[in-house]
């Protein structure tokens, strides 16, 4: 039974890592869109 805890831990860890990366992508996208608007206004 104890072994199943490791199984769950592995699956959770996988999606946590993917989630963190996808989150960083979203954050970077938002920042770039903001910059894009500023550059557009500057012109």
């Amino acid at each position: 039974m104890n072994a199943v805890k490791f199984l769950i831990a592995a699956y959770v860890a996988t999606w946590v890592i993917h989630g963190v990366y996808l989150g960083s992508l979203v954050r970077r996208f938002r920042r770039l869109r903001r910059e894009e608007r500023e550059v557009g206004k500057g012109k």
Partner: protein, 299 residues
């Protein structure tokens, strides 16, 4: 294009859910390891995906280096074609077959070798010029993410099964660790470099990394024959039902990886557009001061 992404995302999510269902309920329980072995359905597909992404990065890096001059570009195309043809033929020669490590079939090695020219030409066609470099940075980053998952799930699997978190002689996990280190250093170089030719430097590093990996594999392989170690992740043949589930899981993760790469690719393109816009702005500012005519587009 814009509507395609959300649709594909939903389909991929469904596919991943289906793969999870297969991994948890449909696949049979292992006789020796019990249910813990199901980690394999996340561990192995992540590894295969990471290796594929790093392979694409390697091909893109070589092509980027080769495309610097027309002479090197043609030379590279010829070399890659010859490697493919000779490699495939060589795999079926008895002398070469003796060199192939046990457990690998010659046809599998031949197919892998054939992928080199195929990938080279397909990637060159789909990603011309600077896009090669964008592809390189994309595959490196997403590859590191998947590689991290391999290195995290590996020890989590090893602990309940073997009682140890890590075995230094475990050839697969240790080679994966070195690959991870090489590509993290690649990403650090890209971030810390303030050269105009960062892309070339990074491509050179990628080539070094790719040359390194087989050497790592052989050094640990020999070390292991002298100091027998447990093989984490098991070896040998697999129950067909398990293999079936494994492949489904891999396909699902490939689709997921594709979407992540697509997003990262678009992010990088956007980033470069904005940098160029900034550059154009400063040029326009300088030109306005000197009242010089300025062309609209540099391409």
């Amino acid at each position: 294009m814009k509507r395609l992404f959300p649709i594909l995302s939903i389909l991929t999510a469904i596919f991943l859910a289906y793969a999870l269902y297969q991994a948890w309920w449909v696949a049979p329980t292992d006789a020796q390891q019990g249910d813990v072995y199901r980690i394999i359905y996340y561990h192995v597909p992540s590894a295969w995906t990471a290796f594929l992404l790093f392979f694409i990065n390697f091909i893109a890096s070589i092509q980027y280096l080769a495309s610097a001059k027309p002479s090197t570009r043609t030379a590279a195309k010829w070399i890659v074609t010859v490697v493919g043809v000779v490699g495939v033929i060589a795999c079926f020669l008895p002398a070469v077959q003796r060199l192939i490590p046990a457990g690998m079939r010659p046809s599998a090695v031949a197919t892998t070798v054939l992928l080199i020219p195929i990938f080279y030409f397909v990637i060159g066609w789909l990603f011309p010029g600077d896009r090669l470099d964008v592809l390189a940075v994309t595959t490196a980053e997403v590859g590191v993410v998947f590689c991290t998952i391999v290195l995290v799930t590996g020890p989590i699997w090893a602990r309940p099964v073997w009682g140890i978190w890590w075995a230094p002689g475990d050839i697969r996990l240790t080679s994966t660790l070195v690959l991870w280190l090489i590509y993290v250093s690649y990403l650090v170089l890209r971030r810390f470099s303030n050269s105009a030719q960062t892309q070339l430097l990074a491509a050179a590093l990628a080539v070094f990394g790719a040359l390194d990996v087989p050497l790592v594999y052989f050094s640990i392989w020999f070390f292991r024959t002298q100091h027998p170690q447990p093989v984490i992740g098991g070896g040998g043949s697999m129950d067909p039902h398990m293999l079936h589930t494994l492949l489904i899981s891999w396909m699902a993760f490939l689709c997921f990886a594709f979407l992540v790469c697509w997003s990262r690719f678009r992010l990088e393109l956007l980033h470069r557009e904005i940098e160029e816009a900034h550059a154009m702005e400063s040029l326009a500012g300088a030109a306005a001061g000197a009242s010089l005519p300025l062309s609209r587009s540099v391409r």
